[in-house]
Symmetry: C2
């Protein structure tokens, strides 16, 4: 296991791939590996790309990765499909093959999928980013299909989140509902050569103006701050500067607008550095990771304790017979834990 | 507190109202009250009513409640609005006033809202049903606004779930996505006098045929069984009988179809009794309640333990400094619990 970590740190792509497989499958020892890698992280620029199916995410990500590589950077791409129980379906398979046929390991492409819970997938994504960061990739791109809460959780792993909107789809309204509008640092209207693109840009602009008002005065202030790096109490970044998300138009399959998109990502990175937002976001992410892991581990411990005390079916029997009730059952299961914590 | 329970059990509506307020606000002592009431439950017929906004739920529920009362039954109605942070908005206020002005306490109407988490609202609904059941209401109707996952969780409190579909809305497709189709035991196309109603009935029929195939052979079998009372391993109900959800047409504001709707609810109740589905559903609900409470209580315990060990900010400091990592932090927080459980 420590060999695997050493090989990854020595720049072996095979070790990197094995580590991510371990993380995805939650194979024995994955926690120790991620723990050991953590101290080598903190150097990669992490970019999240999300948007509804058909928005052109994978095409744009491929072009961005190629451009970054041409500029001399190394890139890791993790494509997440929360709806698929399998890793690397037909479409992703093609992209992996393309990348590996070219022998182009400066762009390391990897798909991940939902094996366990979606909460688990979000944790697994964070861990995979840790592996790519520790490996030494300059850029890590997290691409996710769809635009629901799960995707929001997944792309929060990123320093900068790009949201893709297909033109004339009315999808902007859908996104607003799913909270995607709140998490975008850069918006991209891809397929900008199609009819309706101008209208979509206009709609987006109006919605973002609404958002920035809400962000400064309204209820969503705290949540926005957490994600976009606008000021929060802790870390005391510059209170006077707010980030105004740009809207970039691209035609990804022809490579148009890719440069402007990269410039927008870079602008946001500089904004994060200037305001202290990058550190604040990292803090928020680690706090969230600790809480999530704590919850998951505790649930496993308690499931074991429940089994030890006779199992759920036996508890349900007594509740059905009205000998006891759910609250009392739970109090009894937790009693030894409470006693033990009180003793300390 | 035991006075409050005694008064509720003695049939005092004021005590019932105070208990539900206690439950909704999670006021001190609510757990003990619900625990004490549990042994008096198991007699009410619990009906869930859901569907998209504008489907006519509240009108239909009011008519159903009035009809049940005219037939000599007592009724409790809980109207849940997960999107509202306030209890009893303008609309609900009108209904409460209407009911109480009439001095008609055979129909006890109560609204509840999201004060804390939505998971909490689902637990609070279960507890409010416990209160109404222990009070001795023959029927408890749980009405919820909307058609998302939260509503699905809330109406699962019910023995029989009715799903309302407005005609010609295309909402059937929306519902399918939200998993509402899977949880309906009875479907109602309300406003059946409007244009498009026939087409909606036809669409629903086709979708339900798809569902019943999936239910018998497909992936959704287990989940359907849990909700609709179709056979599962435990409890061994009649394997040969499956429930075919009827589609009832109503014009609630004119009272049309209310009788047919009640007959469909009764059919489903008899089906549950005949097949053992009622007991199985109760078991599944109690098991889910125990797991949810266990998770919530454990999270509170662990938050306290995290604070005791220095708090989240101090943990994040060390993770940021790469002195430790989230997995190690969590292992250390849980170490005393593990040690204590191992000792037993």
């Amino acid at each position: 296991m420590s060999d695997l970590v050493d090989e990854l740190l020595a720049g072996k792509h095979g070790a990197l791939a094995r580590v991510i497989t371990k993380i995805e499958n939650r194979s024995p020892g994955y926690r120790e590996v991620v723990s050991a890698l953590h101290e080598h992280t903190g150097h990669a620029e992490v970019i999240g790309v999300t948007g509804s199916p058909g928005a052109g995410k994978s095409t744009l990500v491929d072009k961005v990765a190629a451009r970054l590589r041409d500029d001399g950077h190394t890139v890791g791409v993790i494509a997440i499909d929360p709806s698929s129980p399998y890793s690397g379906g037909a479409v992703l398979g093609d992209r992996i093959r393309m990348a590996s046929n070219a022998g182009d390991m400066d762009v390391f492409f990897r798909s991940m999928s939902a094996r366990g819970s979606l909460g688990g997938l979000s944790t697994a994504t964070t861990d995979a980013v840790t592996a790519l960061d520790a490996f030494g990739k300059d850029y890590v791109i997290v691409e996710t299909v769809g635009a629901g809460q799960n995707e929001v959780d997944i792309v929060r792993t990123a320093d900068t989140v790009a949201v893709l909107v297909p033109p004339g789809s009315g999808d902007d309204v859908q996104m607003l509902k799913a909270g995607i509008l709140e998490i975008g640092d850069v918006f991209v209207v891809n397929k900008a050569d199609l009819e309706g693109a101008d209208r979509t840009v206009q709609q987006l602009r109006e919605m973002l103006q609404g958002r920035s008002t809400a962000g400064h005065h309204g209820v969503s202030g705290t949540e926005m701050a957490e994600v976009t790096g606008t000021p929060t109490e802790k870390g005391a970044p510059d209170e006077t500067e707010a980030w105004e998300p740009p809207i970039v138009e691209t035609v990804a399959n022809r490579g148009e607008g890719v440069g402007a998109f990269l410039a927008a990502l870079e602008d946001h990175g500089e904004y994060l550095d200037r305001t202290g937002g990058r550190e604040q976001q990292a803090r928020d992410r680690f706090a969230a990771a600790i809480r999530t892991l704590l919850r998951e581990d505790a649930n496993r411990l308690l499931a074991a304790e429940l089994d030890r005390q006779g199992g759920i079916e036996s508890a349900v029997d007594t509740v059905m017979a009205r000998e006891t009730d759910p609250y009392t059952v739970v109090d009894e299961i937790l009693a030894p834990l409470r006693a033990c914590l009180d003793e300390e």
